[in-house]
Symmetry: C2
Subunit: 423 residues, 2 copies
């Protein structure tokens, strides 16, 4: 027997029929002998409706300066998950599965005081674990806890993956299953490369790079949390027929397991190709190469809340001037340029260039650590396809390359092929 | 300075604009110097939607035998008031009124274990009273508390008047204002008698008779509770312009105050005429007049959950046989007749008659206690108008008369006039 946390998002519980379908998934796991806690989001669209109400609630006179108390926002918005949890418990009971709903304050899920975007500090799993012994399924309202002020605190939009992983950790689960509208993590975006393959397994580190680079399957925070606690996360589809899946011990249902490196026996050198659109490039030409220049550039940008991604600075030839390039989201470009122009004196550059139409393509794989030549293969491949490389950054398990947006699909497909991911 | 509880039902908070209007009512009272707690229902239609979801949630196989866990019902349905309370707090804050929402479990409002139709056992008003000192308005989600199992318990449909009065008692309020879609309690139904007048004051006892006899302004339980605790209840309209009402001490805004008899200086002999439609009459003729007959008739009816209202039994002429008449709701008539026919042997009656088209008209007034002739005036008036009296029951402050439904309006108008209520 193993212990599972199953997480279903808003599209998986969008209406009563979909909630019944979720109940079938849960029953299957219970009948396979697992102890189960389920965590659910609000019915699709509900949270948006509630958030709209909160935003438009302040009276007309003050509506130009929208104002609302985040604690009241939380009381209103958390009701969405409360409804789904109660309904799923009823559906399970009607199938003969012992179940009860748990709201954040009942467990309790203790959070910090940051209402509206709280972080979980502690989950008391004792009572739920005790009831596992009696065969009861815990249906947990996701996305919420209780703050130090004893009021409902929500984890911020999209915090439900993270609360599922945190719950799995608190309940000492063997695995956290994230049911979503895709059936796993792919070697790249199948809309760009139809030959993309679903990965059977991927390491936490690789998934972290995939998630933060735009493979929008899982929230970055949830992967971080899973990695810290070594909690295996299984990404799978909630739209598969619940009855046709084999959940017995040793079976391998369709999906991608995110786990620690050691558990991946046949490690590929490269695991996947990710990309991030809507990047803008900013280059400062002939910057005086003296200490404190990086601080002079990036301090004011940080103060202006500009999110800088790649940073490239070459070693200057003669120690006097150098070039510096960085990327920001397209939406921040105007602000970034204004900040840099204002700091022209302090920084001391000659020319400021910017270009909004960029894409960042990344090659990800833990195998890179021990295999040389991965980067040079990428550069050679792109060159052969006539793709001009604007900038390069690397980490231990990732190579990111900035290119013109027009070449994005071509580059993704070429890299996907050259690393053998098509096979 | 006085302390007020203000209660707004679902139609008064049906949309964001109506919630803003409620906020204006609350601000007016705060600016008049009162300490205020507001209790709100779910937005009109919300509770029905949630209840429908709960009812239709059980899976198909079991849908013929609807089943749901009342504790899950409560978790789902209580979310409606949670949303309204949060939104109203936001509206008040945006008007510069310090306010916070309170859910049942936060106060806490402790109830018994009867999920779905719980009774309040205790309300801890200490924290809210403390915050009154700092000028904070408490916005309380109505209709809910927390059961002995630490789970949300709802008070059953329409329990919101009752929770408002209970809250007023716990907070030691000076008055409980029930805002509704009518502007007070009338001498009779204005749809039947356009000359009906709004009562300035009415005693608890009279209101109890009015409420239980079909004047659907207030829930019976809320009036009982107000009477027990001597809590004055003020029934008023939520659709009056919030700005045009004078709430200063000594002002008399439009509405009806329900209070103890002593506070009503100019006591009328008759306060109002109530009526109840859809009554059915059942008569047993020539019943053997022996001990235990009443038990033989009404025991089986009670077992069958038939709600018996009026009961009339005459003293028999010679001590051998008598007639017995009682009324039941039209919907229960068939069941009642079947029960009585089955018990024919035990009861020992000769003829069973029933008639569904009845109306009960009641004359109510505390002044009856000290004034003779009230009843005979009623009988004489009905007789002069050609209304045939089927049965009569009386209490200390009420005379109820069963008549044919066709004569209902005529009888109500004639009685309304003869007791001087038109003036």
């Amino acid at each position: 027997m193993s212990r599972l946390v199953m997480k279903f998002g808003g599209t998986s519980v969008a209406d009563l029929d979909k909630i019944r379908n979720v109940a079938c998934h849960v029953r299957r796991e219970v009948e396979a002998g697992h102890q189960v806690a389920v965590t659910v989001s609000a019915m699709s669209g509900k949270t948006n409706e509630l958030v709209d109400w909160v935003r438009s609630m302040p009276v007309l006179a003050n509506r130009n300066a929208p104002f609302f108390d985040a604690r009241e926002y939380d009381a209103v918005v958390a009701s969405g998950e409360q409804v789904t949890a109660g309904l799923l418990a009823i559906a399970l009971q009607s199938m003969g599965v012992d179940a009860r709903s748990w709201l954040g304050w009942q467990i309790p899920v203790r959070t910090d005081a940051a209402h509206g975007s709280a972080r979980i500090e502690n989950i008391d799993g004792a009572e739920i674990i005790k009831r596992f012994g009696g065969g009861q399924v815990a249906v947990v309202a996701g996305f919420q806890g209780i703050g130090p002020d004893n009021r409902i605190a929500t984890l911020g939009r999209g915090g439900s993956d993270t609360s599922a992983v945190a719950l799995a950790t608190a309940l000492e689960a063997d695995r956290c299953d994230i049911y979503t509208d895709v059936d796993g993590v792919y070697t790249t975006d199948p809309r760009i490369e139809p030959k993309a393959k679903r990965l059977g397994k991927i390491s936490f580190e690789e998934m972290l790079e995939m998630a933060s680079l735009g493979a929008k399957v899982l929230q970055v925070r949830s992967v971080e949390l899973a990695m810290v606690h070594g909690m295996p996360v299984f990404v799978r589809s909630s739209f598969d027929d619940p009855e046709s899946i084999d959940s017995s011990p040793g079976a391998t249902p369709p999906g991608t397991l995110i786990c620690s490196e050691d558990e991946i026996v046949e490690q590929q050198i490269v695991t996947g190709i990710a990309y991030a659109k809507d990047e803008a490039q900013v280059s400062l030409r002939r910057v005086s190469d003296k200490p404190g220049i990086a601080a002079a550039v990036f301090g004011p940008l940080a103060d202006a809340n500009v999110n800088v991604d790649m940073i490239v600075q070459n070693v200057s030839e003669d120690g006097s001037v150098t070039d510096m390039t960085f990327t920001v989201p397209n939406g921040d470009l105007e602000k970034a340029v204004a900040v840099i122009e204002k700091s022209r004196e302090e920084i001391g550059y000659q020319v400021l260039q910017s270009d909004p139409g960029m894409v960042k393509v990344s090659v990800i794989g833990i195998g890179m650590r021990s295999h040389a030549g991965v980067a040079s293969t990428a550069f050679k491949t792109l060159s052969e396809h006539g793709v001009n490389i604007r900038a390069i950054t690397t980490s231990e398990i990732k190579i990111s390359i900035l290119i013109d947006a027009d070449y994005a699909e071509l580059a993704v497909r070429a890299l996907h092929s050259v690393y053998g991911l098509d096979k």
